[in-house]
């Protein structure tokens, strides 16, 4: 056989394979989208998603990489030019993929889809797929590419470099705000999952001494033995998880680990402060190892579980709540679905990771699509699995878990009748039994994703190992695994916020910049913790359960950051004189701008009190004026508190809108200048591309 005919044959074969993948994907999507009435198997969602990813990577991701960006494997990357064996190290492509994925995957893609499931699995699934292909993965890959061509600079630095100092400063303030909101919302997820749950609280508390043991082991006994530390930690953790059941059943121990939401919030705030001033090797790093490995393990296990068990989706494709009257999050499908599912479709936070450690380790530009676009596809798959986990449980149980107490009350009889009234028939017995199966006293109003995911995962895993007897174990395993990496994020995030605050204040009082000073350290940490702690507190005492109020703010801020990153990408494409292809970023940017601005403005100005913060404040103010107290407030003081919180939230939403508009304004200015200039003006580090790449 000649070389020529062999290539011919392989290309014919490859064409056929791609044709089959496309057909399979289209067919599965058809099943997912068109089946009405009768439940479908979750495996169709998985097949539809995986085929979509393959086709999107092959035909869109690679198109952008080769046609638009023209990645050039012959250009030396920062890892090659600045190799120091530490930060800048040329890294094998699969190893780097693992690093990048572990850095972008967090709690976000697990929580958003669970909340979005109130509209049925279809709208969320379609947005996860379309969003990742056209926005999320494009953003991640472009930022990675742009940063790789600029010595691995950070997003803030690149915005400053390509769009000017003012745009950079505004973007940095936006990043700080999003950090604060993320920390508050994530901490709230943990509070919601642990309130009144001695089993969960015990295991999560146990992670602190376990981390300390690991930390001391890895510091002094066997320095640098990550695997040994992690195995020790894992064994201790599983023992704590098993022992937790005894704690929850013991009359003397259970009260020691039973806390209200407010108490837990205070504990987490205190913990966040303490953890962020402690040396990293003692608590943060060991727990980071545990949470990273547990996260990867749980994701793999969930994927295997879904494929082996092949559960049926019990949630309908569409529910009546697509009209925007749903209990889990307020507001209509547009724009609120698109900000509820942030990570998993498109997440601005990834722009920070893609311009963080990853670009410093790219061996060749040819790796950019695989790591950048591919890594995000993987994250999207995690979101699809979260949607499956939320969809396989009884819809009645789903709404019991996710609706605020203000709507369904606090006893099972009332909750069952309200939820049945919505058309999701459920009996009080089922709610009690589910709580009992998972080893909890109540499953009502545990919004925030983690418990729903836990019930879903328990449902899937118990079909695999252990049956019903193991449900309690799996439920608390899922809670533990989510709480573990949320607390790691809270700890690490508080540190990052502290450095940002020190940097920000340091521009006025230079002495405040010294990060090794204990005074600065304590003051900076106190400000950072105070900011997210306050928002967490407002979420805990919020009548609508907090998540309902704060998750949209988080979604808006995250999508806002994505819009900022995509504006920067568009500007850079224009500066590279690639205006012919600028639509690859202009389309997702426009869509995100429309979503974020609509959602942001509605959150501030909508007349519906459930949506608009100002309208909500007005409602409570009017009652105050008449001396009336409306639920869930019980005192006049609480009424004032609610009004004040509304103003704080409105200000935050307004600030996000302002940040986007300012960056857009600078973006348009720079873009027009770039269009008018016939030369390439992108500021790449090596200077090669400037001369050769005039389109």
């Amino acid at each position: 056989m000649t070389e020529h005919s062999r290539t011919m044959q392989s290309s014919g074969f490859s064409k056929m394979v791609w044709f089959l993948i496309s057909i399979l994907g289209a067919g599965s999507l058809g099943v997912v989208a068109l089946s009405r009435g009768e439940p479908i198997n979750a495996i169709w969602l998985v097949i539809a998603a995986v085929c979509t990813y393959f086709v999107a990577y092959r035909f869109y991701g690679l198109f952008i990489a080769h046609q638009v960006l023209q990645v050039d494997p012959s250009l030396p990357t920062p890892a090659m030019r600045l190799n120091d064996g530490l930060d800048y190290v040329p890294t094998q492509k699969y190893v780097l993929f693992g690093h990048h994925f572990a850095a972008i995957a967090g709690a976000g893609p697990l929580v958003g889809p669970v909340l979005a499931a109130q509209m049925g699995y279809l709208p969320g699934t379609l947005w996860i797929l379309a969003g990742v292909v056209f926005a999320g993965a494009v953003q991640d890959m472009l930022v990675l590419f742009i940063s790789t061509r600029r010595d691995g600079r950070s997003l803030g630095d690149i915005v400053r470099l390509e769009m000017g100092k003012s745009a950079g400063a505004v973007a940095m303030i936006g990043v700080l705000l999003i950090m604060i909101i993320i920390l508050a919302v994530l901490a709230l997820v943990v509070v919601k999952a642990l309130a009144g749950s001695p089993w969960g609280t015990f295991t999560v508390f146990a992670t602190i001494p376990i981390a300390l043991i690991m930390g001391i082991y890895g510091r002094f006994i066997r320095p640098g033995k990550i695997a040994e530390m992690s195995v020790i930690g894992f064994v201790l953790l599983m023992s704590a998880l098993v022992f937790g059941q005894h704690v929850s059943e013991s009359a003397s121990l259970a009260p020691l680990f039973t806390y209200t939401a407010i108490q837990l919030a205070m504990i987490i705030i205190g913990y966040g402060f303490a953890a962020s001033v402690m040396p990293v090797w003692l608590l943060l790093a060991p727990r980071d190892y545990l949470s990273t490995f547990l996260k990867i393990g749980a994701i793999v296990a969930l994927a295997i579980g879904i494929v082996v068990v092949m559960p049926m989706m019990r949630m309908p494709a569409l529910t009546r709540f697509i009209d925007g009257t749903g209990p889990v999050f307020s507001g209509g499908l547009f724009p609120f679905l698109f900000i509820t599912i942030a990570c998993g479709s498109v997440s601005g936070f990834h722009a920070l990771i893609s311009s963080g450690t990853t670009p410093k380790m790219i061996e060749s530009e040819a790796q950019v699509p695989f790591v950048g676009y591919g890594g995000m596809l993987m994250e999207s798959f995690v979101a699809i699995m979260a949607m499956v986990a939320a969809g396989v449980i009884d819809p009645g149980v789903y709404f019991a878990l996710n609706s605020p107490a203000a709507l369904i009350g606090t006893d099972v009889a009332n909750a069952a009748s309200v939820i049945s009234g919505w058309g999701f028939t459920i009996t009080p017995d089922v709610l009690l039994q589910t709580a009992k199966d998972v080893g909890e006293s109540s499953i009502l109003s545990r919004a925030g994703g983690a418990p729903t995911l836990a019930v879903g995962m328990a449902h899937i895993f118990s079909g695999l190992i252990g049956g019903k007897a193991m449900m309690g174990f799996w439920y608390h395993f899922a809670i533990l695994f989510e709480a573990l990496f949320i607390l790691t994020a809270v700890d690490a995030g508080t540190r990052v916020a502290r450095f940002m605050i020190q940097d920000l204040i340091g521009s006025v009082i230079p002495a405040f910049r010294a990060t090794h000073s204990w005074t600065n350290n304590l003051i900076g940490s106190a400000i950072a913790v105070g900011m997210w702690g306050y928002i967490l507190y407002t979420g805990v005492i919020d009548p609508l359960g907090g998540i309902n109020t704060l998750w949209p703010l988080f979604g808006i801020s995250n999508q806002m950051l994505a819009a900022v990153a995509l504006i920067m990408c568009t500007v850079v494409l224009l500066k590279m004189k690639k205006q012919r292809y600028a639509w690859v970023t202009i389309i997702p940017t426009t869509f995100l701008l429309i979503c974020t601005l609509t959602a942001g403005l509605q959150k501030v100005f909508s007349d519906v009190p459930a949506i608009g913060f100002l309208a909500h404040a007005r409602k409570f103010k009017d009652s105050l004026a008449q001396g009336q107290i409306i639920a869930p407030a019980r005192t006049l003081e609480q009424m004032h508190q609610i009004v004040w919180n509304d103003y704080v939230d409105a200000t935050l939403a307004g600030a996000f809108v302002a940040v986007v508009i300012v960056v857009l304004f600078y973006g348009i200015q720079v873009a027009r200048k770039a269009l008018a200039n016939p030369k390439v003006t992108a500021l790449e580090s090596h200077g090669v591309a400037k001369v050769t790449r005039i389109a």
Binding site: A105, G224, A285, F293, C343, G356, A489, F499
Partner: protein
């Protein structure tokens, strides 16, 4: 005739497994921010000969401290 061939195959499989295992270990280490120590030492020997490099313990501690200072952090 059969024996040397199968031994060769076995040897190749062993080397392949060893390579995959070392890649896996590297991946997990890098997931928590610790790059390959041997690569670092090789780099120091090649590019900065004569200058002492960090011991494994020093390297690990330096990387651990650096990971949480950079601000890259974790995603939501």
């Amino acid at each position: 005739m059969v024996l040397p061939r199968s031994r060769e195959l076995l040897e190749r499989a062993r080397r392949r497994t060893q390579y995959l295992w070392s890649m896996l270990v590297q991946t997990f280490r890098l997931m928590v921010g610790v790059p390959d120590y041997e690569t670092y030492v090789r780099h120091r020997q090649e590019k900065h000969p004569g200058i002492p490099w960090m011991s494994h313990t020093e390297f690990f501690r330096e990387r651990q401290r650096k990971r949480y200072e950079s601000g890259a952090g974790k995603c939501c």
